[in-house]
Amino acid sequence: MTRANDTAVVIRGVTKTFGAHTAVNDLNLTVPRGTVYGFIGPNGSGKTTTLRMIMRILHPDLGEVEVLGGRTMRAANDRVGYLPEERGLYKSMTVRNVLQFYAELKGVRRARPAIDEWLERMGLAEWAGKKVQALSKGMAQKVQFIAAVVSKPDLVLLDEPFSGLDPVNLETLREAVLDLRRGGATVIFSTHDMNVAERMCDSIFMIYRGKKVLDGTLESIQAAYGSDTVRVRLDSNGGVPGSMPGVLKLTDFGRYQELRLADGVDSQAVLAALMARGRVSHFELARPSLHDIFVRIAAPETVVTAGNNHA
């Protein structure tokens, strides 16, 4: 058991329904302090509902949610920052005023220096006096991010913070998130971008149809999904033939091809079979990407052997 001080969020047996729809079903999750935790899952699978329950905007029907050691059902925790999925700013207020307002709501009295510092860092200094409606989507997203973190919260919840950002802005925001962790904060964010999740998250949690399907570090998840993936490049005669014994799925990436092997198939046997056909210039035992695992879970027709090869 972890002590309360080591955990930022503990969710125990939480169920939340809206009418006939069960958004979150008997969920258990522990988020340790000082980590970056990624929430992934298809649209409508319960990510936002879970974040809102951690935020105490929604109350679970069953179970309990413990945030920063507290279990009160009171909404409004000044130590938690929140970025909702898209929008969330008053259009007719100026950037500085809206940030000031959100900071004051978190109980920060003199927020001006912190706001100016963040605006400077995000490259928005000259926009401080402009109205929110004049901002581009990327700029608004950065302002929204500042609103979530300006009060120096211990826990930051970001709902789709990276969607719709160009690579430069994405990099700025990514750096900022990692900085928060370096500063000791716990960051939970939801995303559809598996690359971002792979690169940034200490742990990943996947929810599908209201149920937890993945939870752990990237390595442990990849290990659980086994080394059933092989990347090969053949120098001659058009690469790997369409069907080979022991190969479940073939994906052609152009420069190389990815094979998913059936349960219990020896990769050496596959290599031997390939060498018999031509010259193999590349052969790699690869771990399935997070993207791959996501698709295996969320697209039911591909879930053939996934999860059966637990070591």
Binding site: I57, A76, V80, G81, P84, R87, F101, Y102
Partner: protein, 462 residues
């Protein structure tokens, strides 16, 4: 509580520091002043084109039409101008004498038709017939008077036409000629009758002169001098206008701020701002902050208008109508009324997902606010009737109707507005509580407006 205050300050600034606020600040006085000013301005903008009237005088000797022609001449040279040699502000009347001719029914109908055709052609504005018997001493039998106006009577001249003036025209709303002709002909006919009765006109006029009545307030004793002060002239118009104006002002102040507040709630829902706010503030504090901001906006507006009204009242000598007592009650009821209606508006905003949906949801609330506007005249006329008293205790109407009763001289017993205030306070708390429950659930609901059944469930379920 500090957070509610932060919300209130933002709401206040968002409402007050806008062009729309400045415009609405001006709109109310312009609406009131404009309607009065426009009437004054347009008073002189009348059609001054000459109007021609045919007159058939059936009295023996046709003396009355002569009098009418002379009077028209006099009027056209003096009365139609705003001052001697000045601008013409009324149309000139030209009297065209038409021979009475045959008295038989067919002939009279034919003549009326011919003249009607001339009116239709625009040659005449209207025509007047003076009955042959109007100068006789023996007049119309009293019970026959009604029959004269009976639409079911057969066409053609009735026997009663002898004692009437009959005016026909296709412009029934223009009544200046009728009023003028009636007065002139009556004067002339009376003179004839006095002469026929052998009475000197001067003596009859002296005998029948009217008795004037003046309206005064109550007599007071001047405590400084010990003498009685002359009672003031009562001005029934002012005693109506002041309560009516205060009622209008209350109505406007409640609606001016509430509607943008509701729109703000809808915006917060649509823009997902509500989520961010609820991550920092409890729903009830959020709503409380909004309502406090609204009260601030309304009190600001009231301060502007009331100080203007107070200055104007003093300037024009009506200071007694806007006493400190009346103004104090105005502020008390304003605050409570704004809280009560504001919370209902907030609840409507929280229950809807876009502005279009609020239209349908809002009308029951608007109806509640408008009921006092329908009945206030009765309350002003009889502030102590059973109807007025009961109506002013209905909490949704109290801020407006109790205020009217306080403002109408001589006012009401001191405890009545206090009891009314307690009632409004209770209703306000109930509204704020119910709205808070709706607000809490509705604020995160997306997709569709709540049904009335859902709203009730949100209010009463734990």
């Amino acid at each position: 509580m500090h957070k509610a205050f932060v919300i209130a300050v933002r709401e206040y600034n968002a409402a007050v520091r806008t062009k729309a606020f400045l415009i609405s600040l001006v709109v109310f006085p312009v609406l009131i002043g404009g309607s009065v000013g426009l009437q004054l301005l347009l008073k002189d903008k009348v059609d001054t084109a000459e109007k021609r009237f045919a007159v058939i005088d059936r009295t023996p000797g046709e003396k009355l039409v002569e009098k009418l022609a002379v009077a028209a001449q006099a009027r056209n040279t003096t009365e139609i101008f705003d001052r001697p040699g000045g601008k013409q502000i009324k149309p000139a009347f030209t009297v065209e004498r038409v021979a009475s001719g045959d008295e038989r029914r067919e002939a009279v109908d034919q003549q009326r038709f011919d003249l009607s055709e001339r009116v239709r052609d625009g040659d005449l504005f209207g025509f007047l017939e003076i009955g042959s018997g109007v100068v006789e001493l023996a007049g119309l039998p009293p019970d026959a008077a009604d029959a004269a106006n009976d639409d079911d009577a057969p066409p053609g001249p009735s026997p009663n036409d002898r004692f009437l003036m009959r005016y026909q025209s296709n412009s029934p709303t223009f009544d200046a000629f009728q009023r003028w002709a009636e007065k002139v002909v009556n004067e002339a006919a009376k003179e004839s009758r006095y002469a026929a009765a052998g009475l000197p006109a001067e003596k009859v006029k002296a005998a029948v002169r009217p008795v004037p009545l003046v309206t005064k307030g109550l007599t007071r004793r001047n405590t400084a001098t010990g003498r009685f002060d002359e009672a003031r002239d009562e001005n029934p118009i002012a005693s109506m206008l002041v309560p009516g104006g205060l009622l209008m002002l209350m109505f406007m102040l409640i609606l001016i701020g509430s509607t943008p507040l509701m729109q703000g709630v809808v915006e917060e829902k649509m823009q997902r701002i509500a989520e961010v706010l609820l991550g920092s503030v409890r729903p009830f504090d959020l709503m409380l902050g909004k309502l406090l901001g609204l009260v601030g906006v309304s009190v600001t507006l009231a301060a502007v208008y009331l100080s203007g009204a107070y200055w104007a009242a003093r300037h024009y000598g009506y200071a007694e109508f806007v006493s400190v007592e009346v103004l104090s009650w105005f502020l008390v009821y304003l605050v409570l009324g704004v809280l009560m209606y504001g919370s209902l508006f907030v609840a409507v905003g929280a229950a809807c997902t876009d502005l279009r949906e609020t239209q349908a949801m809002l009308w029951p609330v608007m109806l509640l606010a408008m009921v006092p506007m329908f009945v206030w005249m009765n309350v002003v006329r009889e502030p102590n009737s059973v109807f007025s008293t009961v109506a002013s205790y209905v909490p949704t109407a109290t801020p407006m109707l109790m205020l009217v009763r306080v403002a109408v001289p001589p006012g009401i017993a001191w405890w009545q507005p206090v009891v009314g205030m307690v009632g409004v306070l209770a209703a306000t708390l109930a509204c704020v509580y119910a709205a808070g429950r709706i607000f809490r659930v509705g604020l995160l609901m997306q997709g569709k407006a709540a049904t009335p059944r859902e709203l009730l469930r949100w209010v009463f379920e734990a």
